[in-house]
Amino acid sequence: MSCEQCSERLMDVLYGEELNAKTCFQFFRHLDECGDCRAEYLELLKTREILADWKIEEDGSAVLHDREHFVKPGSNAGIGWFSVFHRIAAGILILLGAVSVLQMAGILPDRRVVVNERQLTEMVHDMILARQEQDWRIIGTALLEVKEELEARRRVEMQAAFEELSDLELRFVNALEENNRRVQTLLTGR
């Protein structure tokens, strides 16, 4: 057996597959004679030993705990009530989609109000104007109320000032008359 043939059979020997006794014997006889092939075989064997160290063990419980839905395959395989609701929901969505497609294609009348971009802009503009008008009206009313309040306060203040001035005038006139009377008394000597 050549090195090439040995290499071809390497995996089969390593894993004990598809080899008859004669081929096996030839393979190992070649290994006795060829140091390179023997080294490679031993290296792979060693790698297999390392690979064998990795074990996975379960704690005894089953990997799958949720087996309830594996019931009656065939006609209703694995369909519960939840699944039925899913199907109904999917059906409604498909129906709505189909109606939309037919409406777009013009086969079904579309009840939606179609507004183009210009009309939409105008509508928004009108809405803004109406809102502004409302705001101005509120502001105007508030200003008028402030103005009226200020005028009323001013009137009250002016009335108070007038009354005070009148009082001062009266006291001034009285004081003046008193003064004249005293001056006359002094002049006449009485």
Partner: protein, 184 residues
């Protein structure tokens, strides 16, 4: 007397849920072991095992050759893993590298008192190295070394020629050896 897989499949296809349950009991650990070694995460492996059996159950009618149930099951498992990685836009290799904590946790429970520290470190290293293998080599290594599948079964599951399965195995073993030497 133990019933064969084919017999159980026949009964399960006729509506006997208990028979499918028996098939699950028979195959779940092997499928879990395969998925776990491939994805590197215990919880994810359990989810994917569940998904595999759910899919198998729903598609029982499509299994024409019941003698090939195990290969069919492995194909479904592999497909589920690949779909999961595609959805999550990541490759299993990454999960090994990112999941050192998982590596520690999942092996810790299975050490025996006789297990030496050196041996533990070697297994940690081995798992890391397997995680670094190219996907095609890793799959063949897992299927052959840990699932004990024949080369012709591996070639059937992966849809590759027999010679390709063997050469991937050879390359995989060589790569493992090389990486182990580099890291020690």
């Amino acid at each position: 007397m133990d019933r064969t897989d084919e017999h159980l499949l026949e009964l399960a296809a006729e509506g006997d849920a208990a028979c499918f349950g028996e098939l699950i009991e028979r195959w779940e650990r092997r499928i879990f072991g395969f998925i776990y070694r491939y994805v590197g995460n215990r919880e994810e492996a359990k989810d994917l095992t569940q998904d595999t059996f759910t899919k198998a159950f729903r598609n029982l009618g499509r299994l024409t050759d019941r003698t090939r149930f195990s290969s069919w099951l492995y194909k479904i498992a592999l497909n589920e893993c690949r779909m999961r990685f595609r959805r999550e836009s990541r490759f299993p290799k990454v999960s090994w590298e990112q999941n050192r904590e998982e590596l520690q946790k999942t092996t810790r429970d299975h050490w025996t008192p006789a297990t030496t520290l050196e041996n533990r470190e070697q297994v940690h290293l081995l798992r890391e190295v397997i995680g670094l293998l190219p996907e095609e080599q890793k799959l063949v290594i897992i299927m052959k070394e840990y699932q004990g599948l024949k080369f012709h079964e591996i070639s059937e599951i992966l849809g590759i020629p027999l010679s390709t399965a063997k050469s991937r195995m050879y390359l995989g073993l060589k790569t493992i050896r090389k990486l182990m030497e580099e890291k020690t």
